[in-house]
């Protein structure tokens, strides 16, 4: 491989990786906020993302709505769906002293139900695309080629992450969410309504997933099985530190870039393996993740 090729691969791999990585980061944040506040890995995260794409697709293809209406309805629809699932199903499991595994199974049930629902809708028979939110004209950066859509995806994803940072840092509800994540008993003693906060966290997670779906489905296409992308979000969350929001963001970018660089410099067969290798390396060298803080011993 010539030096020119190596330099081109490096530039293109990093820039394209930042774009897809920004979406993995969003989904990783959606995973982490639920895990932090409920101790439950949400195995329906990918399917919630997928449903976001299909709601938008339905509104555009079947209802003929413009994007201006589709975006808010999709965001609200997925947020309400996620929040309701927490309120109706998960809270009942918590109320009946259910253990973690029961809640995990409940999320798996949601995943299968959503996938089945989409399959029966008639839209899931073939890969489909949402109309892109921006043109796909090429933009040259250095030697690398991106599209206007890529730049929009990156910009919106980063903006959403900054807004989330602002919300968790400066708003009352954001601080309440963090308090529930750190110590739910203490949070309740200070007057935080745990049920409401957990529902809001799930709704927020759904909203973030819907944003990710609207951004990336014009680029990667949508099928009922596209929820497998959540595996990459989990990889990002673990690499960054499963309880760290900044870690999830960093992890998303690391996974996005690693996929491309492994594909370019090692083998395209290894692209799907790259996230798992990254998980193993991080777990071996820094089990708490890149930004997971110090290892903590929990009293049981």
């Amino acid at each position: 491989m010539s030096f020119a090729d190596t330099w081109l691969f490096l530039q293109q791999g990093v820039l394209s990786g930042l774009v897809t990585g920004s979406v993995y980061a969003l989904l990783a944040v959606a995973v982490v906020i639920i895990f932090k506040t409920t101790d439950v890995p949400n195995f329906a995260q990918g399917e919630i993302f997928m449903v976001g794409g299909y709601i938008a697709l339905f509104l555009i293809l079947v209802m003929g709505w413009p994007y201006l209406a589709v975006i808010p309805v999709t965001l609200v629809g997925v947020a309400v769906l996620s929040g309701l699932f927490q309120r109706v199903v998960m809270e009942r499991v918590i109320a009946s002293k259910g253990v973690g595994v029961q809640m995990v199974i409940a999320t798996l049930g949601l995943a299968y139900a959503l996938k089945g629902l989409v399959r029966t809708s008639g839209l899931g028979d073939t890969p489909r695309s949402l109309p892109p939110l921006a043109s796909t004209d090429a933009v040259i950066i250095g030697d690398a080629v991106l599209t206007r859509l890529d730049l929009l995806i990156f910009a919106v994803a980063v903006t959403v992450m900054l807004l989330l940072f602002g919300m968790f840092t400066y708003t009352r509800v954001g601080r309440a969410m963090r308090a529930v994540g750190m110590n739910p008993k203490a949070a309740r003693l200070t007057g935080v309504n745990l049920t409401r906060i957990r529902m809001m966290v799930w709704a927020l997670s759904g909203l973030i997933s819907a944003v990710a779906a609207l951004l990336i489905t014009p680029k990667i296409l949508i099928t009922p099985d596209i929820g497998h992308i959540a595996i990459l979000a989990y990889a990002a969350a673990i690499v960054g530190g499963i309880t760290s929001l900044p870690g999830a963001v960093v992890g998303g970018f690391v996974i996005g870039i690693a996929e491309n660089l492994v594909g370019l410099f090692i083998s395209t067969n290894a692209i799907v393996v790259a996230p798992f290798v990254a998980i193993m390396v991080v777990l071996l060298l820094r089990p708490q993740g890149l930004l997971g803080g110090k290892l903590q011993v929990k009293k049981v």
Binding site: S129, V145, P224, L264
Partner: protein, 404 residues
């Protein structure tokens, strides 16, 4: 010959005739007036597009044969099952048809992975299986005495034919090749390499990708860096759309040839790529004898309209794979005819092994051999600009053969 001898000879002939009839009637699914055939395909679920109308096409061919008097005086009776394109359901359907309905032979399977799962049972039960439109390379190689298939095309032939087209028609000396890293990809690449070797070894630059890939930057960039004369794509529809889109973004303007694996819904493909300029130099592989709706295939579509007027009036019908159902039904009928008035499974299998005929539906002849259970190994190529289709003259055949 005296009278006693004449009586003895007549009695012997009667015994022979009776024993032949008895033998035929011992065969499951055969009566004096009917032959029972088990037919199965995905008739519901997400895989329905692969087989629903394919089975309808087979049914209309059997109906035509019955109308013309049947096979050696027997009417064909079909028992139909839904395999949902799923291995468990398909094996259950095969078992039901064989054990409960006691069919003479099986004619079914539109999904390769599902039909491959039935191989062990078919061989154990020694019941002939003539697939519908599944490629089913995993069930065809190594050759089984009881299984015949790939009436549309085998995955091996997909790869071999693509390389033949790239070399013969596009005069490519250096060929970029993107396939999947699964069994399908392995099969078509094996034949692609064999074909390249036979053509004097044009350089084959291969990038294998997972079917779930979300970012195709790496494979496409590596292909572009290798500077091949043509890019052959044997991926499924979603990765194919992503790669054509990425190729356009990266300024690729050399020919792209898309295998039949990714062409089930061309309108959707164009929508998914999102830019017709990306199709300026795209060819698609097809396995039919003519362009969809072309004059050579008019009779098939007319026959469908007459057989299923209500269905034909509905949008989305006939489904694009519909014509694929006719050649397997033709093969079954031909084999039954060749087996004579007292057919046995053994005789049908013998007839299938040496069968060769032109279906008038597919790009190449339907042809089996002692070591070859794949019916069809040729493809046509169509220049597709996102709207219009122009047929490239001729058919391009894979020469790959199974080696022990």
């Amino acid at each position: 010959m005296n009278q006693r001898s004449r009586y003895a000879a007549a009695a012997a002939l009667c015994v022979l005739a009776l024993s032949a009839t008895a033998q035929a009637q011992q065969e499951p699914g055969i009566t004096d007036k009917t032959i029972k055939i088990g037919v199965f395909a995905p008739l519901s679920g997400s895989g329905m597009a692969y087989g629903f109308d394919v089975l309808n096409a087979a049914k209309m061919w059997y109906a035509k044969v019955n109308k013309e008097g049947g096979v050696n005086g027997r009417q064909i009776e079909l028992v139909i099952e839904d395999d949902r394109c799923n291995a468990n359901d398909l094996v259950a359907a095969v078992k039901k048809l064989n054990e409960q309905d006691k069919v003479f032979l099986l004619n079914g399977g539109s999904c390769s992975a599902a039909v491959v799962a039935s191989r062990e049972y078919i061989e154990r039960e020694k019941v002939p299986l003539v697939m519908l439109n599944a490629s089913g390379d995993g069930a065809l190689y190594p050759p089984s005495k009881y299984i015949y298939g790939a009436f549309s095309i085998s995955q091996h032939a997909v790869g071999g034919s693509m390389v033949q087209f790239a070399s013969e028609h596009l005069k490519a000396k250096k060929i970029g090749y993107i396939n999947h890293d699964d069994a399908y990809g392995g099969w078509n690449l094996e034949a692609a390499k064999a074909q390249a070797k036979q053509l004097g070894d044009p350089a084959l630059q291969v990038q294998s990708v997972n079917p779930n890939i979300t970012d195709v930057t790496a494979p496409m960039l590596k292909i572009r860096a290798g500077n091949p004369d043509v890019l052959l794509l044997t991926t499924y529809a979603r990765p194919a759309a992503l790669i054509i889109k990425k190729a356009h973004e990266l300024g690729w303007n050399k020919p792209i040839v898309l295998a039949v694996n990714g062409t089930a819904d061309l309108k959707q493909l164009v929508e998914n790529v999102g830019n017709k300029d990306a199709f300026k130099n795209v060819y698609i592989q097809d396995v039919l004898a003519d362009l969809p709706g072309g004059p050579k295939l008019t009779w098939v579509y007319e026959m469908y309209k007459q057989s299923y007027p209500d269905l034909a009036a509905k949008p989305g019908h006939p489904q694009s794979y519909m014509p694929y159902g006719i050649p397997p039904a033709m093969a079954v009928v031909n084999a039954l005819k060749a087996a004579g008035p007292q057919p046995t499974r053994e005789k049908v299998l013998q007839a299938l092994e040496t069968m060769k005929f032109d279906s008038g539906v597919m790009a190449g002849p339907i042809e089996f051999g002692p070591g070859d259970r794949a019916a069809q190994e040729a493809a046509i190529y169509i220049k597709f600009d996102g709207t219009n289709m122009t047929l490239v003259p001729g058919a391009f055949k894979s020469t790959w053969q199974y080696q022990k």
